[in-house]
């Protein structure tokens, strides 16, 4: 009887794990969409340039995402009319995205080149697309 219960619990847990991974992909897809929305309402002229990680190595993925999230907080809306949409999208991007894998990263956020907000967001979007792409590749192997 006990063995059956343990087996059922293990089976249940494994099925949860299987359903959990696609949800992450959904989360990342939502982030790509949100970044796209933010690109439409962000102010691009006469603003401070931000450190933009470009093609970080796998060990530096968490650092790069954190760098992007911190940079998002320095963005400003294009005009007062898009303020509500701007605040909504920035709040979505504040939420934790990746877990710290604990790997050692050699580059810091400040070591990356500074770019305009639109370029910054494009690179952010590209990074998320890389994460999605690689997560699908892992699931197909």
């Amino acid at each position: 009887m006990e063995r059956m219960i343990i087996f059922c619990v293990l089976f249940f847990c494994s099925s949860m794990v299987l359903t959990a991974t696609p949800q992450k992909a959904m989360k990342y897809k939502q982030l790509v969409k949100t970044i796209g929305q933010l690109e439409e309402v962000v102010k691009d002229k006469d603003v401070e340039f931000l450190h933009t990680p470009e093609n970080p190595v796998d060990e530096c993925l968490f650092t790069a995402v954190t760098c992007f999230q911190n940079g998002t907080l320095k963005l400003q809306p294009k005009n007062s009319q898009v303020n509500s949409k701007f605040i909504k999208t920035v709040n979505i991007l504040k939420r934790p995205i990746l877990k710290d894998s604990g790997k050692q990263c050699e580059s810091t956020c400040e070591s990356y080149e500074k770019k305009s907000p639109k370029e910054f967001l494009k690179s952010f979007s590209k990074l998320m697309k890389k994460v999605i792409n690689q997560s699908y590749r892992k699931s197909t192997i």
Binding site: V32, N55, K126, K129, K130, I132, N133, Y136, R137
Partner: protein
């Protein structure tokens, strides 16, 4: 005067030759396409536009050293492109390409722009297109893609019926396309193609259209069916009915029993009354056999004279009420005038 002329001549020569040089040695750029993430080809021209052999060098930014292409693509003795294996392709890393050639001792170098290979993926065309008939006139089209990451794809379905003039295109996110209302009289053709969606890359490269799949009744088979029906209606049916008619006519003429059933004789009962009309000369009583003394009793043994009745115009407004029973026979109900002598001794006299 001679100096400017000497100066002008090479300038004119260069001007004349320049465009020709540019036209002859003009790879406008390097175009790379990743086919289904299995291999990549980078092309820089064709036999017509190139006059010399170029060699290609590539590297990934901050990653790999500069490497020469291992497998060139040739067109009639001129290198026009390079073929990359799957192991030589890295996505999400900026990719740079350098074209080198030497022409008449001069080194030509063409540096291509920075490329992101994930934006240059062209997936393979969808395969195994199948149509399933769902309930209530609904069709479901499904397919599979040779591209390994199916979740990275978005698709487009294009279809047309044999009665339509233009194609209708629909974007589809998943692997299924539901066609809501299908007309069973029409003949439909479906094509599908794929593209990397915006969550896995930023590409505009669609795959090739798939092999088509069809549904419905084809008009050529319909024409055959119609031809069949035509033969039945216009040839077979008239002949059969004519034959039937012929058989009936023959039967009628030859067999009186059949004739009598179809055309019965109108009964003539006058034969029964031959006796009455011919023998007894229309005397019904004689033919019926009524006895003579009964005949006698019907004859009246009294004589009646006719009583003539006429109306006199009356001067007074009040007329005596005439009783129906007192009315003399032989006249309508009119006031009596002076009478002749009658057996009924009528005392009424009009006043």
């Amino acid at each position: 005067m001679a100096v400017p002329a000497a100066f002008l001549a090479p300038v004119l020569l260069l001007c004349g030759l320049g465009p020709r040089l540019a036209a002859a040695h003009g790879p406008t750029g390097v175009e790379c396409v990743l086919f289904n993430e299995e291999y990549m080809t980078c092309l820089w021209g064709s036999r017509e536009t190139l006059t010399t052999n170029y060699s290609l060098y590539y590297w990934y930014e901050n990653r790999s050293p500069v490497v020469e292409c291992k497998r060139y693509l040739w067109d009639r003795g001129v290198s026009i492109g390079c073929h990359f294996n799957q192991s030589e392709i890295v996505q999400f890393q900026p990719f740079h390409v350098l074209l080198n050639a030497s022409l008449n001792g001069q080194a030509l170098e063409i540096r291509s722009k920075r490329m992101e290979l994930q934006d240059l993926v062209k997936p393979g065309a969808p395969v195994n297109l199948t149509i399933r008939n769902m309930s209530s006139n609904q069709l479901q089209l499904t397919w599979s893609s040779p591209y390994p990451k199916a979740q990275c794809l978005e698709h487009a379905v294009k279809y047309k019926s044999n009665k339509d003039t233009s194609w209708i295109e629909h974007g589809v996110k998943g692997d299924i396309f539901s066609f809501p209302s299908v007309d069973y009289e029409k003949y439909y053709t479906f094509y599908v193609r794929s593209k990397i969606n915006s969550y896995c890359g930023s590409t505009q490269l669609w795959s090739e259209w798939s092999v088509p799949v069809v549904w419905g009744r084809n008009t050529t088979s319909l024409a055959e069916e119609q031809l069949q029906w035509f033969w039945i209606h216009t040839v077979l049916v008239p002949i059969a009915s004519c034959l039937l008619l012929l058989v009936l006519v023959v039967l009628l003429v030859r067999m009186e029993r059949v004739w009598v059933i179809l055309m019965p004789r109108i009964p003539n009962p006058s034969k029964n009354f031959d006796e009455l009309f011919i023998t007894h000369n229309g005397n019904f009583q004689e033919w019926a056999g009524v006895p003579k003394d009964m005949l006698e009793s019907f004859k009246p043994n009294y004589s009646e004279s006719i009583c003539y009745v006429s109306e006199l115009p009356s001067r007074e407004s009040h007329d005596p009420q005439w009783d129906g029973s007192n009315r003399p026979p032989g006249g309508p109900g009119a006031p009596a005038g002076p009478r002749e002598h009658s057996p009924y001794q009528n005392n009424y006299v009009g006043v």
